[in-house]
Symmetry: C2
Subunit: 181 residues, 2 copies
DNA sequence: TATAATTTTCAGAAATTTCTGAAAATTCAG
DNA sequence: CTGAATTTTCAGAAATTTCTGAAAATTATA
């Protein structure tokens, strides 16, 4: 199992990108070979394709599993673990977003929450900023949770509509605010 | 200008977070002191508050400016540069998202685009994945661009609605598809 | 249970990133 | 212009992250 040179560009690139997503270059490359290869791959194959040590692959696999991006498969009569993507491209993308939200937003949110509990109000200016950030993240969080539950097709429709949703909202407004006028 | 110990927790925390957003710990801490402090700060004050070198502050400022997160101010009779956040918390958050999109999505998109041009179709499986990722990112990109233009209030409304939008869409569907039936 | 196959761990090495601080460059007032 | 104030640069040092590979642990087979 060689890394086809046609794929090399992608693998290298997704390595670079991976490091922006919260895991390191090698882990990004591992994800790339797993996603772009049709058959499931075992650890030795991955090590060989990327010219990295077996131990490194083991750690990378653990990382990708903690992100729930890959899944283990077994072949009859073979004791090795084989790995495949944990879903379609669409599902993987949502999963990356979801994990990043968890790692980037949640810890901040709980810190801010805690602080707003105590905060006796001495640093008024700072406290106001804390409140603003808190509300923003909370809003984002519930929105994302909500969105994440939608089935892919509705979600795609929604994305395609973009800010066009604004217009639909106006429409809804006109239709549902009889009580207000 | 001392760093009030009440703020230390936040500054440290936003340092950690900063490194998840694409800049390093120190740059994250610099952003935090600038955002949480009411008066504009100069480079020496920032260096002192965070106990880092003057040179480091200079580099951090450049970074934060490249992200368009801070802005320089001047005081009459004072030649130093003073820095303030480049907008409200809401605007800063959008700006961070916007820059991240630019740095994480755009490069991948152009690589994929280029590849789909050439690609004579030898690695069918991989090519399909390339196409899927390409379409997904393209969809996300236009959606974000669209959304980014909305004024904060409409955007807030939209976020609050969350997947409730789905219901509104159904409503719209029923109201606008007379032509189809 | 013994042993062969496989995976995981982790100490130290290698690579990368970040930081310092002195020197160079820039800016501005007189 | 001159020179003091300020900012920027960047080589090397320090800190951090990632990687290797051999040993330990685990798992499955016979």
């Amino acid at each position: 199992m060689e890394l086809p040179s046609e794929l090399e560009t992608f693998v290298v690139h997704f390595g670079e990108m991976g490091s922006r997503w919260g895991f390191n270059r090698t882990v990004g490359q591992m994800l790339a070979v797993i996603v772009f290869t049709e058959e499931a791959l075992n650890a030795d194959q991955i090590a060989k394709m990327l010219s990295i040590s077996r131990g490194n692959v083991s750690m990378g696999i653990k990382e990708l599993q903690s992100w729930q991006l890959i899944r283990v498969h077994h072949k009859p009569g073979d004791r090795k673990d084989y790995f495949k993507p944990a879903g379609t491209i669409w599902e993987l993308a949502l999963q990356v977003l979801s994990e990043r939200r968890k790692r980037e937003v949640d810890p901040t949110l709980s810190l801010l929450r805690g602080q707003l509990m105590n905060e006796p109000g001495e640093y008024q200016f700072a406290t106001e900023r804390v409140k603003e950030i808190h509300d923003l993240l909370e809003l984002f969080n519930t929105w994302f949770e909500d969105i994440h539950r939608m089935n892919p097709d509705s979600l795609k429709t929604l994305l395609k509509l973009g800010s066009g949703v604004g217009k639909v909202l106006d429409l809804k407004e006109r239709l549902t605010t009889r009580d207000k006028s």
